[in-house]
Amino acid sequence: MSAPPPTAPRAAPGYHVPSLGYRILVAALRLIPAFFVLVILPVAALTFVHSKGVAVPISTLAVTEWGILLVALGAARYILRPTRAFGPVSIAASAVALLYLVYAVSLSPYRLTIPGGSASIAAGYALFLELLMIIPAIGIVVGVLVTAEDARSPSERLIFEYPA
């Protein structure tokens, strides 16, 4: 008995998996709002704040790099959803998100010195980010469960994710 192929089954009784081209197209469309939320919006906010002479806690380059990585993994996750790679890619995407949050926590508290140096404000946000870490942590668990499910019974979940 041979192992099931890693590629997505095109069609099988009980479910209908969209074609690779269609999934790439939808992933590209989903990429637009994700790119806006994870890259454009934070970079624009940081650039605006920086233009007002206020030091920013994180560089725009770092935000861009982390954002692109997350967006790319999100798109890959969508394209690979019908395949056995979905679980591992989900784990990877969540792990990257978790690392991003750990990196952001390491930058807390944010210290703002008013130009002239007479006043400074420090705002801590580590607790909030630690709560936010619940989401990628759950994502990793979900990825592990999906990987286990795909190993136990390949294609079984497709009936429920892509019902015919």
């Binding site: 007479s118 006043a119 801590g124 909030f128 759950i138 979900v142 469960l145 499910e149």
Partner: protein, 274 residues
């Protein structure tokens, strides 16, 4: 004859159901946290817009013979979340860094939609020696270092630090007290004592100035009292005779002054008599 078709609904496997439930849970957590962050940001902007205010800040000579800086500090919290553990500390030093006094407020909580008003009072004991004495007679800049801590919306610790140089107007600026040449003869010898200063403080002075001539042997030669009522920005220049005790010579001694007001007294810097 066609057979009866019974629709079957296959139950997803438990592991898949668990994964799906967890996915929904993470979406729920995300929505809750995004809503929380949005309302916190809105509330924080509202708090910042209402800007903390200090009112009635004034300096005066207190009844315990010290310089008092008093007033109140008001912090509005128009947001949705409490300001917890609010603490404010202010420390005053001169420009050389010599500590003069400190005040503290809190810790206290300001509930959402309420206003926290905190009375503040800072006392600087006055003495005739050291840096503090110069507060009476020398205009100068004082370094005010204030810092506050609070936790906003349960999760966000915030600290603010402010350093500012504030000008201090001395209540007895350019103070001078001089004993003149003794005059008279026989059984009564008197010495003219001249006192002058300018009141650069923000408060008025009302009471009396009491001066004692002390001999080089530390004996009281005589005392005189000057009536005093000088408003902020006013000046004072007056001469009065002091009748010396028999056989007491002021030469080489000191002129000791004291500002008496409202049952309290503040010593003034001593002046040597040549």
């Amino acid at each position: 004859m066609a057979g009866l078709v019974v629709p079957t609904h296959r139950q997803p496997p438990a592991i898949y159901r668990l994964a799906r439930a967890l996915r929904w849970l993470s979406v729920l957590v995300l929505v809750v946290l995004v809503l929380f962050a949005t309302t916190v940001a809105y509330s924080a902007v509202e708090v910042a817009r209402s800007s903390p205010q200090s009112s009635g800040l004034s300096a005066s000579l207190a009844a315990n013979g010290s310089i008092e800086v008093g007033g109140s500090f008001t912090l509005l919290n128009p947001g949705f979340y409490p300001i917890q553990g609010f603490q404010l500390t202010a420390r005053i030093a001169n420009l050389s860094g010599v500590f003069l006094g400190q005040l503290g407020v809190g810790p206290s909580e300001i509930a959402p939609g309420s206003t926290g008003t905190f009375p503040i009072a800072l006392y600087v004991p006055v003495s005739t020696s050291g840096v503090v004495a110069s507060l009476l007679t020398e205009d100068q800049y004082l370094r005010v270092n204030a810092w506050g801590n609070a936790t906003y919306a349960y999760l966000f610790p915030i600290s603010v630090e402010l350093t500012e140089n504030r000008s201090w107007g001395a209540p007895f600026a350019n103070f001078a007290a001089t004993a003149g040449t003794p005059t008279g003869g026989g059984g009564s010898i008197s010495v003219p004592v001249t006192v002058s200063f300018a009141n650069h403080a923000s408060f008025g002075e009302s009471g009396s100035l009491v001066f004692t001539i002390v001999s080089a042997a530390n004996a009281d030669c005589g005392t005189t009292s000057f009536p005093l009522d000088v408003g902020p920005g006013g000046s004072y220049d007056r001469t009065q005779d002091v009748t010396l005790a028999a056989g007491c010579s002021p030469a080489g001694g000191e002129l000791l002054g004291e500002y008496s007001y409202g049952g309290a007294a503040v010593p003034l810097p001593p002046e040597a008599i040549p």
